[in-house]
Symmetry: C2
Subunit: 227 residues, 2 copies
DNA sequence: AAAGTGAATAATGAATGCAAAATCGAGTCA
DNA sequence: TGACTCGATTTTGCATTCATTATTCACTTT
């Protein structure tokens, strides 16, 4: 066996990866038309695999296909926010429960490290590094849960909600609340209290949705002022 | 406005509907190769929309695309069963909680009717009608939860697990257990006890997974005997 | 000037074409 | 008999073509 694995992939799959990245990075913005021809040139492919990728992303809920008018980046409505986040809460809650049942001592220790790091960034008010540690903790919980189906569905929902989650500007009170949630999470995890951790994660998600709604309200108010 | 709405749909979408139906009905069986050419003839379409439908169904987890070897109906492994069902449990649990918060008196009454009907079918040992009522109850809970995202993800998981769920032959003890679960569900729903209903539904799903594992064990044992 | 009209242009959706890869099968050899 | 070869055939992935549907924009009408 040679070390380098022969990765045989389909073009449409690689394009799908590229498009997902563009959506997450905001190069393609919600509601915007997806420029098929331009993307074909940019990726150096013909329309066939590009359009196949569109179908796949549409099935994932990232694009909306309008008959005879091509593809549009899916736009999240307030109603969908109200639907998506509780689902994410239930899933992350499950991840927490499974993690408590399966996690090793070493991984708990690693999460504690991440948590302490995150707390330091909070103290210093360093937002970007804070988010990085924060995300690492949530990812570590899913990793410990060891459920690929769960992770992939959750990841999909994260991607779909990317634009609205990113719109949030945490107030000091909200930020403190989030850190407090994380303290409780760590305690539950160290006590291997599955139901407890599940409850905290669902609660954490409920706080998140409130922040998102606040952000959407603020954004809409700003838009109304402009017009 | 005329009564007949002009439904403009994409070909690949209609094909996807048709393929999903074939998979659910067992016309295409897990592990089987999906005959592209034959399906093109059957649906009266060219390869392009057929292959687009394949990509969409693959994104849904219903098909597996093997590079240079076309599409295969996704086959559920025991490990995936162990991953999929807890996720379904968490989602149906959420549906129960939401339903308790939102359901109208009339809908509760309808579910009670369905439940009593189902109980009668159980008493008489009529399996097919029992399953019909059973499914109607679960669907009614999702309807009451009024969360389209939740419903569509759950529906997708139902489809993906179709083959293994269908393999289950309930023992009398298991059947009694299921009916008891349903009694508890109705009680929780009538009391609008969201957390309680959530717990019962997760428990109900845990029972389901045990039945599925039993069925898979039996199937594998039978297969081993044959070889 | 604003609203309407229709020809020219662009885009979309689906069928077809073509090169590369996989599969099949007759023939060969151990 | 069973494993192997290698050319023929089929299948697959992607590019290209073609018909249909939107969109644009110069032009008319009020």
């Amino acid at each position: 066996m040679s070390g380098t694995q022969i990765v045989r992939r389909n073009l449409h799959d690689e394009i799908a990866v590229g498009l997902r990245e563009m959506i997450v990075k905001g190069e393609l913005r919600p509601g915007e038309k997806v420029p098929e021809a331009a993307l074909c040139i940019r990726f150096g492919v013909s329309r066939t695999p590009m359009r196949e990728a569109f179908k796949a992303l549409a099935a994932e809920g990232l694009l909306t296909l309008v008959p005879n008018r091509g593809a549009v980046v899916a736009r999240i409505t307030r109603e969908e926010v109200a639907e998506l986040f509780p689902v994410m809460g239930a899933l992350e809650g499950l991840a927490g429960e499974l993690a408590c049942a399966r996690i090793t001592e070493a991984k708990v220790a690693r999460i504690r490290k991440l948590h302490e790091q995150m707390a330091r960034f909070y103290e210093r008010g360093e937002i970007a590094p804070y988010y990085r540690s924060n995300r690492a903790i949530h990812e570590a919980i899913f990793e410990a849960a060891d459920n690929a189906v769960l992770s992939s569905i959750f990841q999909n929902l994260l991607t779909r909600t990317n634009s609205v989650r990113f719109a949030v500007k945490k107030s000091p009170a909200r930020w403190a609340e989030a850190v407090a949630d994380h303290e409780a999470m760590l305690a539950a995890l160290e006590a291997r209290d599955g139901p407890g951790l599940g409850r905290i994660l669902r609660e954490h998600m409920r706080h998140k949705i409130e922040m998102v709604i606040e952000a959407l309200d603020a954004r809409d108010a700003a838009e109304r002022r402009r017009s």
